[in-house]
Amino acid sequence: MFIQLLYLSLLLSTMILGIVRHKKLTVPYKLLTVIIGITFIVESINWQLAIRSHDTRFLAHIMSLAELNFYFPIFYLLFSQKVIKKIIIGLIIFFNIFSFINSFFLQPYYNNFPSNVLLPVEICYAILSLVMFRQMLSNTLSINITKQSIFWYGSAMLFLSTSLFLCLGLNNYFVIHHLNFHILGTFNYIINLIFYTMAGYAIYLNSKENILNEG
């Protein structure tokens, strides 16, 4: 309960920070603010529905669709290489079609979790984060790296996308050994808390004046 409230508060405060700073933010970080806002709304509904013992798996379908339509465009705006931009556009189109097919035919939204979409998408996020680090190395800025919003965004995405595989591994281990899933839920919340803290810090650091090649 406490960690859920903490998580929602963090989402809300990050969203408010983005709204307050929206004039100073560049487009990718404006998009990041919007997706955090959407996450806050969906997670609040999810929490309320879960309390009332409703099935909330359809929300995961909505969330995965929303995320891929925001996180991919953010990457698109942060990259400067045209080839990567084209690949990202291709990925957006492909995953939108695939999500639709998956939600209605492969893993129906009313009783399935959209793992078919989430897993490849998270792999793409991890790869894009690493490629973005490579881009940062080839276009080095004079400002301290820890003061660059792109570094925090890239780190946050790399952290979230790679931690998903850790969670899946743990999930399997817990199923096999019949362990208490409550602890795994808490661990998921901790990962999300870390991710949104890093994303919030990226929003806090971002400003149009010192973007240079940050997009």
């Binding site: 190395l137 790296i145 602890i183 661990f187």
Partner: protein, 273 residues
Amino acid sequence: MKDDGVEFIAAAATAFFASLSIFIIYFVVLYRNKQIINRQEKEKLQSAFRQELLETRIEIQEETLNYISREIHDNITQVLSFVKLNLGLIRNEDNASKKKVDESRELVSQTINDLRNLSKSLSYEHIAALGLVKTLEIEAERVNNSGLINIVLSTEGNVYTLGQQRELVLFRIYQEALNNTLKHANAKHLKICLQYQPELFNLTLEDDGTGFSIETLSNKLGSGLRNMENRAALIGATATINSSPCNGCCIKVKLNPLEEQLYADGNRPNRPG
């Protein structure tokens, strides 16, 4: 405890966070190294650009001075020579008028001489042909004759050539110093000392003027002094300027004549002269 899976989750999470942290720290270190390399390259480029700019400025200045020198020598002094000749052709019985004409001829002669000397001090070719010591001797004599200041020139050690460009730059430093002394120092004496040691050349210019505090310099004088330092740096020399109110000014230029310098050989393309 084991049933809850806390132990396993803690171990897995620790391994995961540690590897991710190591990766991010490695990336940060790599990025910082790249920043340092970039900064060094940028500084190197800026320094090369400044050097190139300074060389170009000096070359343009030398070309201009050479042009003025040629104009004085080939045009103004020639015209004045004609004026002198014409004055010599005037036949006048009147003693007072004759005296005036003679006086005028004398003045014109003096002006021609002064202009020739000035032309020589401006000309790159002349300085290159005569060498630094001889040029400074002529220059000292010219200034001493003007009565503006008394220049004492001394030479120590066996005189050797420093290369045409270096000698030209040293001469221009002397000219800048003399100009400053005459304009601002109110000095009576200027000592010029040239020390030729096997591995060190020293040029010292010392006046007994009012002096100044380096911290409270006007922009114009400050830029003149900076100009001297920049010129010295261009030939691989170091210029140090010492002065304080009521204690005159001392400019020392140190140069290692054995050190290889691009600008010293006088073989640069587009060089003046």
